[in-house]
Symmetry: C2
Subunit: 301 residues, 2 copies
Amino acid sequence: MRAEVLQVRAFSRAVTRRFGALDEQYLGRRRPLAEARLLFEVGMHATAVRNLRARLGLDSGFLSRLLRSLERQGLLVTESARDDGRIRVARLTRAGRRELHHLNALSDALARSVLAPLSPEQARRLVAAMAEVERLLCASSITITPAQPGDQDAADCRRQYFQELGSRFPEGFRPTAAHALTLRRLEPRAGRVFVARLAGDAVGFGAVRRIAPGMGEIKHMWIAPRVRGLGVGRRLLAELERAARRMRVRVLRLDTHASLTEALGLYRSAGYRKIPRYNDNPYAQHWFEKVLVASARPGRG
Amino acid sequence: MRAEVLQVRAFSRAVTRRFGALDEQYLGRRRPLAEARLLFEVGMHATAVRNLRARLGLDSGFLSRLLRSLERQGLLVTESARDDGRIRVARLTRAGRRELHHLNALSDALARSVLAPLSPEQARRLVAAMAEVERLLCASSITITPAQPGDQDAADCRRQYFQELGSRFPEGFRPTAAHALTLRRLEPRAGRVFVARLAGDAVGFGAVRRIAPGMGEIKHMWIAPRVRGLGVGRRLLAELERAARRMRVRVLRLDTHASLTEALGLYRSAGYRKIPRYNDNPYAQHWFEKVLVASARPGRG
DNA sequence: ATGCTTCCCTGACTATAGTCAGAGAATGCG
DNA sequence: CGCATTCTCTGACTATAGTCAGGGAAGCAT
């Protein structure tokens, strides 16, 4: 563990030194780095100010000022969103798009300057290792937190979840009454909802509810396609189990559709055993159960 | 190439976002980041102000101010160097060392917070990939540039080179008259010296000189042990060959000692062929020659 | 001794990156 | 409708990170 920590530190130093310096040198020459980053983040299509704030992690006042500055430079315009007048949407002008292209070119040059001194074989290996680091850092920065009641992100996930069920079930999918009794009605007495987030975006969610004294049920486990394979499902499930324990649940059940093969694999490897049908969910073909024991390692999936 | 460039960019974004944010959050909480970095750089032993300036790349006035601030906080003291009254040396006080330990602990916590959400297998793979990226970024940031006449770094390298020869040759080593006619007397008419540098430190050097019309000789190739295996030797050799071509050299020769196995391998794989003894160097057992042709890919080793 | 250079320092100034409180418009909720 | 909340914006302020010119002390070359 000690060696791993030291390697992470050495890595951080090496990378921030190299890329931090280059970033300023390449991208910050023409304008403040914050403005350049904002241009990148707005990108080619209109983006809500609130999303920009979440992704860049900026203070509302500061971001507003940056927007005004870019607006004065004629690089972007802001306008109110159609469906919600409070939300403002930023969009690059033609000049802004040109500037973004320029920044992209600089950024490419920066990347090439890193690869150029290396042999083809070294460059290949560096790129492969970078892909691996990026993937795992992404996994590592995904947080799993309890949803606030009425959480918009959780509702978004639920919509996407249902949509995916519809496209994956051969027979199609329409939410039943049982599916409707969710989220809002779960919390806070009868259940808990957790949301996985990556840089401000919701990328997964899941719920646990009590269905009888000492017995709970996992519902609505869903992970966004772009973060599948990063172990988020496993972490989310562990989080739900911890929440279940805190709700004095000793036995957890769940049902699932035969076509959801990743889910089936996850449940099996997480210690869930097949049991006979315990409910009348018309979309379920498999039922599982797990007896919870005190966890030796809280905080780990 | 395009895909590689995009991967490098994605990596840079991901890493600076993650570590940049954490750096500030962990290390910058108690004091300005620049002060924290300076404490790290001074470290446990006395360090000359000029070296701090070089390593951190700071303006002289700004660094001076940072030093005064840390001095006021009782974390370090500065004093004149014994042998050169102009040079000031910074040294942590007892309180400063305590603070450094604290920063180290925070930095460790930061590293652990990256590893914590991952499964043991993921953490293992992340650390391995980070080590690879760090190694190759290090290789990529090594620059190879012509030495200025009387370059102190080149002289340093030469000293270390002779020292290493002494420890590696079974028969020991004392520079002969032929070895003495170097560096200063090479440049700029009869030869060229190149120095490899990593973040301000010289980590290798090599020379080429003309020994007859159209014929040149590689001398004094040396790479610091800590950067061996990164392809620096190959790049340096390619640089020397380019310089030779510019000097209208068509045939390059070199000699080497049988115990320098890495060098032998490098010369062979770079296209040098064994030839009979062409000089009276008492420390040489192998002689090589290469006919230079116009290079198809300048800039690559 | 004299002049040149190196090294570090101070004073004065600027740019960048925020933080915080509060106001005003739009929306959601009962 | 009335009230609370959300979202964005502005004004006022602070902290951080520099840049630049110039000066004094020490060393170096002759």
